[in-house]
């Protein structure tokens, strides 16, 4: 049995004008939250539609829950694609009932369960046209959960949610993985939305996967530049380059050592042993946001 909930190989779908996704090799482990990150227009929704069989791939293969995706929806998958698809003239319960009737084999009691799960138990009888954006989003999630899926595919589920709602969504997603053993594939253009909940991430930019792996591994791989202030920056830079460091001369007084296998204290010792007086050795913290923007080539703006 495959250990992956989703696996794609060289998946491509390009639209006229060049938008789309190219050569995607997604590997989404089971029983974890996979954050699918990328700026708007990166190809996240296209990928999700390909996974759900709403679009056909030009090249490549898709396997969902170990079964090949051949342009038809697969059982065991619950999805919320962009804004929730709801009938505004019906109540929340009736919206769920429409999907329950279509699915077959789902007990009517399940409607009350999923409404309680998304905290809409008291509003189930109300017409959806009276719902706020956040309530609609939660009802969309309830629709996705109705058939007890093993894989949940969510496209920007935080849209329209207030900060408390986003927090509730995170808690819910974690509980779906930890308590129910679901695999969750969640896309977002906001790193902050998924970094607290995802175990794995994939970073998409311009239709290509720029990074994929465990979030912890990405965090561990992040090393900021080492800022050095000393009395002879030019000579220090030469000395550091001789031992394999890449050095940026930020300002006349400041050296920025970008990558090195040497620990910071060894660099300090090396400079001091060569008669250089080091006045400051500092490694400023690097945020995941910064890494995200570097991967996606976006300007350093707050996510």
């Amino acid at each position: 049995m495959s250990a992956l909930a989703i696996q794609t190989r060289s998946l491509s779908r390009v639209f006229p004008g060049g938008h789309g996704v190219r050569e995607l090799d997604l590997e989404v482990p089971k029983a974890c939250v996979y954050g699918f990150l990328g700026p708007n227009g990166a190809g996240k929704t296209t990928t999700i539609r390909l996974l759900l069989g709403l679009l056909r791939a030009q090249t490549g293969k898709i396997e969902v829950l170990g079964r090949p995706q051949r342009g038809m929806p697969l059982s065991g998958v619950g999805a919320l694609v962009e804004s929730p698809s709801l009938y505004p003239h019906l109540s929340g319960i009736d919206n769920l009932e429409v999907t329950r009737r279509l699915l077959g084999g789902v007990n009517r009691k399940r409607i009350a369960e999923v409404l309680a799960r998304v905290d809409l138990a008291r509003d189930g009888q109300r017409k959806v046209r009276e719902y706020s954006l956040g309530m609609r989003q939660r009802l969309g999630l309830a629709l996705a959960l109705l058939a007890r899926p093993r894989l949940l595919v969510l496209d920007e589920p935080g849209n329209g949610l207030d900060p408390a709602g986003i927090q509730d969504m995170r808690v819910l997603l974690r509980s779906l993985v930890q308590d129910d053993g679901l695999s969750v594939f969640v896309s977002s253009h906001l790193l902050s939305e998924v970094e607290q909940v995802a175990d794995h991430i994939g970073v998409l930019h311009d239709g290509r996967l720029r990074y994929q792996g465990a979030l912890a591994a990405l965090r561990a791989s992040l090393r900021s530049t080492l800022d050095i202030r000393c009395d002879a920056p030019e000579r220090a830079a030469t000395l550091l380059e001789q031992i394999g460091c890449r050095v940026n001369r930020g300002t006349p007084e400041l050296l920025q050592v970008q990558t090195t296998t040497l620990p910071d204290d060894a660099i300090n010792r090396h400079l001091v042993e060569h008669g250089i007086a080091v006045s400051q050795l500092h490694r400023p913290p690097v945020s995941l946001e910064q890494a995200f923007f570097e991967l996606t080539g976006q300007p350093g703006r707050s996510a």
């Binding site: 639209f15 296209t46 539609r49 759900l52 069989g53 709403l54 679009l55 056909r56 038809m72 929806p73 697969l74 059982s75 998958v77 999805a79 694609v81 962009e82 804004s83 929730p84 698809s85 709801l86 009938y87 505004p88 003239h89 019906l90 009736d94 009932e97 429409v98 999907t99 009737r101 279509l102 699915l103 077959g104 629709l143």
Partner: protein, 254 residues
């Protein structure tokens, strides 16, 4: 899940989606307008110089209401119903949810087709079995026509089911159009234009029987080739639906 079972489920869902919609109310409103118009016309016009007997008065009511229905209201009814049924899914971008469910795509399409045919059947049964007798009874009470005794419902039903079968091609065409195009306007413009064209084409003995929007009028004209017209409607509806179903199954939701 068998395809028949899937269609049953989709129809069961359609029934709930229709709750409280204009599409459902239209099945009552459209036939009521036809009968209401006839009642008003008879109530306010001068009484005829030669008063028909009750049987002739009932037949006149039936002929007038069914002609009005077949020529104008039926094609407009199908147009609007198809547009409303399509808008239920296009409006809130339901297709991306519906087509991601593990249900054969054809079930969604056929459920819409059957629902439209069922709404038309309900409207016609309401017209013939309830509203036309009620309208006649009202005219009998008001006095302009000697409408007494039992209305010839069986005769009307005999004509009515032919009208119904002759409208299958329009039902199929409008289902295909309404589910293919997101725009409500496209569906309505096609239906309105074809209905207006039908008022002219319907007068042609050569073309009237074969123009889809005037086919339902043929059972009232006692066309000699009515059986062929009826068959053309049914075969045409099957071909149109098969092609539309093929396209729908391959449709992408972007």
């Amino acid at each position: 899940m068998s395809r028949v079972h899937a269609l049953g489920r989709a129809l069961w869902a359609e029934q709930l989606k229709l709750r409280g919609t204009l599409a459902l109310w239209l099945s009552l409103i459209a036939p009521a307008v036809i009968v209401g118009l006839y009642v008003l016309q008879m109530a306010f016009q001068k009484p005829p110089k030669v008063m028909p007997d009750s049987e002739a008065a009932w037949m006149q009511l039936g002929q007038t209401c069914l002609a009005l229905w077949s020529m104008l209201m039926l094609p407009l009814f199908i147009t609007l119903e198809a547009a409303l049924l399509g808008a239920l899914e296009h409006g809130a971008q339901q297709w991306k949810h519906l087509l991601a469910l593990p249900l054969p795509r054809g079930a969604h399409y056929l459920a819409k087709l059957v629902t439209l045919a069922a709404l038309l059947l309900a409207a016609m049964l309401l017209l013939i079995v309830v509203l036309m007798p009620l309208g006649g009874w009202l005219l009998g009470q008001l006095g302009p026509l000697p409408l007494t005794g039992w209305p010839p419902v069986a005769t009307w039903l005999d004509t009515g089911w032919r009208i119904y079968l002759c409208s299958f091609l329009i039902v199929a065409l409008h289902t295909a159009i309404a589910l293919h195009w997101r725009s409500f306007t496209v569906v309505v413009i096609v239906g309105m234009s074809a209905t207006v064209m039908g008022t002219r084409i319907g007068q042609s003995a050569d073309y009237g029987p074969w123009f889809p929007w005037t086919m339902p009028l043929q059972p009232l004209t006692e066309h000699p080739q009515i059986a062929i017209v009826l068959l053309t409607s049914l075969v045409g509806a099957t071909v149109v639906s098969a092609l539309a179903l093929w396209a729908f199954a391959r449709r992408e939701v972007s």
